[in-house]
Symmetry: C2
DNA sequence: TTGAAAGCGCTACCAT
DNA sequence: ATGGTAGCGCTTTCAA
């Protein structure tokens, strides 16, 4: 049976089939090889100027766009850097970091792709990512185990970088120990004479990854002192905050680290409505240093968090891709400093 | 020259090459065809149970993961739904929408991918997306022109959906006319007797897509009335807000629609610090109905925005993919309702 | 029930 | 300077 060429006039114009480099070659009257040379500016081969023009014109006319899958199949590798799409809305801090990162990786000629597979977890997710044969994978959180790393590496990923509290065997790690945040908050409160310290723990799921280490950090910092830590579960609603505030005096707390600025604002308002004076009766400190915290009265004290620059991570990725054999790097990258304002 | 097989003992174990279905076949002692049948559960072919087991075991042992590019190259299409990664940190509203969408598309067996190419614009971006041969492309904003749509369709995209103020020739559209937001805000202020109405326009770039239509909406709603609209450029800093507040009385405004709740909170605080009484001297209304607006005193009035459900869009995508010939659908999907609290 | 082989679109080697 | 062609990993007819 004769293969009907793409350019067959019998094809309905409504759904023209996708032009390939062969179509371009045919139209330009050259070979597919020449098309490839021209469109990729292959320096090892010199193509005459008229030919180049004809090829470019043909490509233009057909609206030819190279097929990335075919290309990377042939090349045996891609320049795709994959990361899972964040499952929870990402704050301005993390958002800026992500943007920097994507920009920096683009500059290094990588294609950045966020894979949105919210249903998958752990090694299933790793397998799904591996199908795309990314050259590097960046994984926030701690969903990935050594198995997952192995799957990714076996399927050609030259760099796997985790961003989270703990590293993983075989992968590079940007260690972001949120315990530091809790520690700084606790030290601050303790230094200012507070001893009965509450720690808000959000009830919203997906936040445990941050809230647990932040709570642990508080406990660490206060270990061996005379301070007492009270865990305060709190849903992100006015009602929940009001309920917590209603039993506040009974709790006998003189300070609270409220997980982050948003929970802090929520709780602070509820406390004020309840007649609790801040900071006299209870000191309040948040985290993340949101602009909005400065708008409250009293202004909200907070823990300013410093993330690594996106450029930094991009360079780590690039280094790792270039030398996949190198020992995994581990960097402690989360800076936390108290910004003392008026609420504590 | 003899081709050294993948399993050659001469390969350094440190960098084993990626296992292919041929490797699985070899290990299981069957043909590549059989491997494909087994791993894809091809119903048209019956494979004996022992063979199935051997294949699965071999795949497991090698850590085999199919190569998505090769598969879709062969198949002639993919199930990838592509969308550009948001360039600005996305709020809780949009964030939830995105998550729903990804979840719903995953359920429909699509692979959702966010393409992070912050450097590219318009048709360049479209070309970059087209290289990945997605079966559908979702584009927020108005960066995409008819040219871009054409490129995408010619390269095999069976559905292109824009999400933004205006549709594009040839593409489906979820029309999100932010003018509605401004209109509702303006109507509310006007109904409450305000006549000299300021509209905050953020100076931060990337927000024009929202701020311009919101401003236009205010103008529309007030056209033909005795109200006067004043445009108020404002950067998202305390200093800028203080500067604006300092010249507030000179502006002679009795109301302000502050773009969104965050700018509203920023401005409201600055006005209060300046001694401007809210709402007596100046009414303030924001938009987005953030939780935080309820924490201010007075509580912030706002325009609650209703986005379509992610499921809805996922179904539109699926419909369009199944029937690419159908006429582009256009849906007006942005709901806006004033939530009147105490600041207006 | 299983295997052989073609071919998806592309690039890079080797000829000419 | 340009063309022929092999082969990347996969699925799917067709044959056995």
């Amino acid at each position: 049976m004769v293969q009907i060429p793409n350019t067959s006039a019998s094809a309905p114009p409504a759904q023209r089939s996708v032009p390939t480099s062969a179509d371009v070659a045919r139209l330009a009257g050259v070979s597919r090889a020449t098309v490839s040379y021209v469109l990729n500016n292959t320096s090892a081969v010199r193509i005459s100027e008229p030919t180049r023009r004809r090829v470019h014109e043909a490509a233009e006319e057909l609206g030819y766009v190279p097929h990335a899958a075919a290309r990377s199949l042939r090349a045996g590798h891609s320049r795709m850097v994959l990361m899972p799409a964040p499952a929870i809305p990402v704050g301005p801090l993390h958002g800026q970091f992500l943007n920097e990162l994507q920009w920096a990786l683009s500059r290094l000629d990588y294609t950045v792709v966020q894979h949105g597979a919210l249903g998958l977890h752990g090694d299933d997710a790793a397998r799904a990512w591996a199908e795309l044969r990314p050259v590097a994978v960046l994984v926030p959180g701690q969903g990935l185990g050594p198995q997952g790393v192995a799957v990714l590496k076996r399927s050609g990923a030259r760099a796997v970088v985790t961003l989270g509290p703990t590293g993983v065997e075989g992968a590079h790690a940007l260690l972001m120990d949120h315990a530091t945040v809790g520690r700084e908050a606790a030290r601050h409160l303790h230094a200012r004479g507070r001893r009965r310290i509450g720690v808000v723990v959000p009830e919203e799921s997906g936040l445990e990854a941050y809230s647990t280490p932040r709570l642990d950090g508080v406990r660490q910092a206060l270990r061996g002192t005379d301070a007492v830590v009270t865990e305060l579960p709190l849903g992100y609603t006015e009602e929940a905050a009001a309920r917590l505030a209603a039993r506040w005096r009974g709790l006998g707390l003189d300070a609270v680290f409220a997980y982050n600025d948003e929970y802090a604002m929520l709780l602070m308002r509820a406390l004020q409505d309840e007649g609790v004076r801040i900071p006299e009766d209870t000191a309040v400190i948040g985290a993340d240093d949101l602009m909005l915290g400065r708008l409250l009265r009293p202004r909200l004290s907070t823990v300013h968090i410093e993330l690594p620059s996106g450029r930094e991570l991009a360079e780590l990725v690039d280094r790792a891709v270039r030398d996949p054999g190198a020992a995994p790097e581990r960097h402690e990258v989360l800076g936390a400093t108290v910004v003392h304002r008026d609420s504590s």
